[in-house]
């Protein structure tokens, strides 16, 4: 009785014997060679592509095409025109980037957003994790607090900004409570405090969403780990450090990334809270400047350069964060 010899290589690639006659089954390459070309291109279940296609088209139209177009615009002289109006759009190399970076307001805006991220991102991660942990345990009025933290997130920025203006203006509640300790000029018109105030505002407004992400992640942390830690005599703080934090690591990555991306896209808050990036541009964000240049002044080429720089900046920060996390 002879047995078919299966080379280790075939085995590794999934080669196996036929269950009926014991003869070697055709290898994957052999099977592929016998398929028709539509099957080779579209796979054995082309209907899957149909299901996936709408989202692929959505991504292509809403994200990929504008991104590619903005990179194109950033290297050309470009203005928005009416249909059929032919204007030359010559290649200008890095001119738009030079124009953008030589504008003190643009440089200030990038510095501002860095200050914003340094305050907002760590604060968001820490507060949302701590609050989610608290809301995940058996505390009185748990459902109420869960809802309460989410309210600012779903409330229109315009309305919430009104409340903060009331709280943080010169005669606002915060300054009244602080008395002589209140900064002069007040928070939102103070060159040192305007951007940190916005960072605090955004942290508070978005906290509900990030708490929700952490709450979902906390459900996946096995209860047994806490029980074991407890049996081993670990304090609550130790359990938090050694069980909760590692247990929600992937959520932390997501929260950090989302906080960086949404923070880098800051627009509404400086537009409304500090009168369009005041005082003296100290709370202007790159997206606010981009809007002024691209939409108001019809310089979409320079605006595109600012946008590309912003994307690169976010990718670099996110990359560094990923590297640090991996280590």
């Amino acid at each position: 009785m002879t047995t078919a010899q299966i080379s280790p290589d075939d085995s590794r690639r999934g080669g196996h014997t036929s269950p009926l006659d014991g003869s070697p089954a055709p290898s994957r390459d052999a099977r592929r060679n016998h398929r028709s070309w539509p099957e080779r291109v579209l796979g054995r279940h082309p209907v899957g592509i149909l299901f996936g296609l709408p989202y692929a088209v959505f991504i292509a139209i809403i994200f990929a095409y504008p991104l590619v177009l903005s990179v194109y615009m950033s290297f050309h002289r470009y203005i928005f025109t009416a249909p059929g109006v032919g204007v030359p759009r010559p290649w200008v190399g890095l001119d738009n980037y030079r124009t953008a970076l030589s504008d003190p307001l643009v440089r200030q805006a990038f510095l501002n957003i860095l200050i914003f991220l340094v305050i907002n991102v760590p604060l968001t991660v820490v507060l949302s994790l701590v609050l989610a942990t608290a809301l995940n345990s058996a505390i009185p009025l748990r459902s109420f607090f869960r809802g309460a933290y989410y309210v600012p997130y779903v409330t229109a920025s315009v309305a919430v900004v009104g409340v903060w203006l009331f709280l943080f203006n010169t005669d606002g509640l915060v300054n009244r409570l602080l008395g002589s300790l209140a900064p002069n000029p007040s928070w939102l018109i103070n060159v040192h405090w305007a951007m940190p105030s916005i960072a605090l505002f955004v942290t508070w407004k978005q906290l509900g969403f990030f708490i929700l992400l952490y709450l979902a992640a906390l459900q996946a942390v096995p209860k047994e780990l806490y029980e074991s830690a407890s049996v081993d005599g670990a304090s609550k703080w130790r359990q938090f450090r050694s069980v909760t934090v590692p247990g929600v690591r992937h959520a932390t990555t997501l929260v950090t990334l989302l906080a960086i991306v949404t923070g880098a896209n800051l627009f509404t808050e400086p537009y409304l809270l500090t009168g369009g990036g005041g005082p003296d541009g100290k709370s202007a964000s790159p997206v606010l400047v981009l809007y002024q240049q691209g939409i108001e002044q019809n310089h979409p080429d320079v605006a595109a350069a600012i946008g590309v720089l912003l994307v690169i900046g976010v990718l670099v920060i996110a990359g560094i964060q990923q590297l640090l996390e991996r280590d």
Binding site: R32, R40, V41, L42, G43, I49, G52, L53, A56, V57, I59, A60, I61, A64, Y65, I79, F80, T81, A82, P83, G84, V85, V87, L105, V161, G162, L165, F166, N169, T170, D171, P185, S186, L188, I189, V191, L272, L273, T274, G275, G276, G277, G278, P279, D280, G281, A284, Q292, I295, E296, Q297, N298, H299
Partner: protein, 432 residues
Amino acid sequence: MRAATRTIAGGLAALLAVGLSAGCSRVHAVDAATAKDAHGPISIWYSNNAQEVQWGKQLVAQWNQAHPQEKVTGQEIPANKSSEEVIGASIVAGSEPCLIYNTSPASVPTFQAQGGLVALDDFPGAAQYIQTRSGDQAAQYKSPDGKYYQLPWKTNPVMIFYNKKIFAKAGISTTNPPLSTYSQFLDTAKKIVASKAAKYAIYPAPSSEFYQSWYDFYSMYAAESGGSQLITADKAVFADQAGQSVAQFWASLYRQNLAGKEAYNGDSFADGVAAMSIVGPWAIASYKGKVDWGVVPVPTSSGSKVGDDHTFSDAKNVAMYASCKNRATAWDFLKYSTSEQADGTLLSVTGQMPLRQDVLGTYAAFFTKNPGFKTFAAEANRTTEVPNVPNSVEIWQSFRNSWSRSVIFGRSPVTTSLTDSAAAIDKLIRKK
């Protein structure tokens, strides 16, 4: 390999979809030569304030009754942060209507550069019609190529509204308040704040939008300089003595906390937070029943007088847009809507001044019946417009940034800030 093939196939399919959707949505340009003489239905946009909507609906209904073959469809301009953004986006999309009765003169150079406007001079007798209707003021609305891409329609001469109740509380005359010169204005402002009759004397928006300086700076610069524009003969002129005086005046108000520096969520004048406001005649209807107001011209260093000073026009004009297929009808409707009769309706319904010669004399009956508007009408023939130059919005943004830094927040000396700003704007004028 197979995965890569499939990814490429998916990518190609997506690209095909993008191409197809772009192809389907491509808008073809209107043939200008054919459109110029074409009659037929048109659409128009007007402003979304209640009075102008009423005026627009009334006018459209009247026209449609008389011209059933050339039906006009009117609608409010779609809501957005500003009308200019909506118009700019619709030009690019090729979806703008034939006429927009809310075209800001500052945006005309941009719309023109986009190829979004029709030169009205293309229609026989158009230039003459515009000049006869608006007189010498029409020249301010000519583009650098010598053509009219906008019909000067209505003006809102900017003046100072004051709250009589607050003035009375501060012990200031409510019939003849001392607000004519800068020193009088400052003294009055100090009295208001010191008496705690109001938190601030005046509260122009301290925000960074490019157009905010039209109200705080430009109205007073026009008055102080005798009607000079920001730019004359392709040169920024506002750093002159007149500009310096105006800037120093405002810097004093801010330095002494007589004017608010923070964003205000609401209407500071209606709420009684500020005793004065810089407004046009539209404010009469807006503050009716809310504030017992009085009105005076903007101050000058040597003293202002009703009917003797210049101010910022705050005009809104009508422009014809490139997507219009029936331009002959659009031009006919444009003339119809700016006739003496239609302008009279505009005045009586909205209280805004038609940008035509001798408004006071032409509509004497209206002003006898509504004396509150007389003061504004007296200023209407001496209004100064924003300069019609390329990069207009960028120029005003540059000015605003400099104004915020030096005048509002006191972070750089006013004198050098104005000269530096003028130098920066000179560069923008030359920028192609």
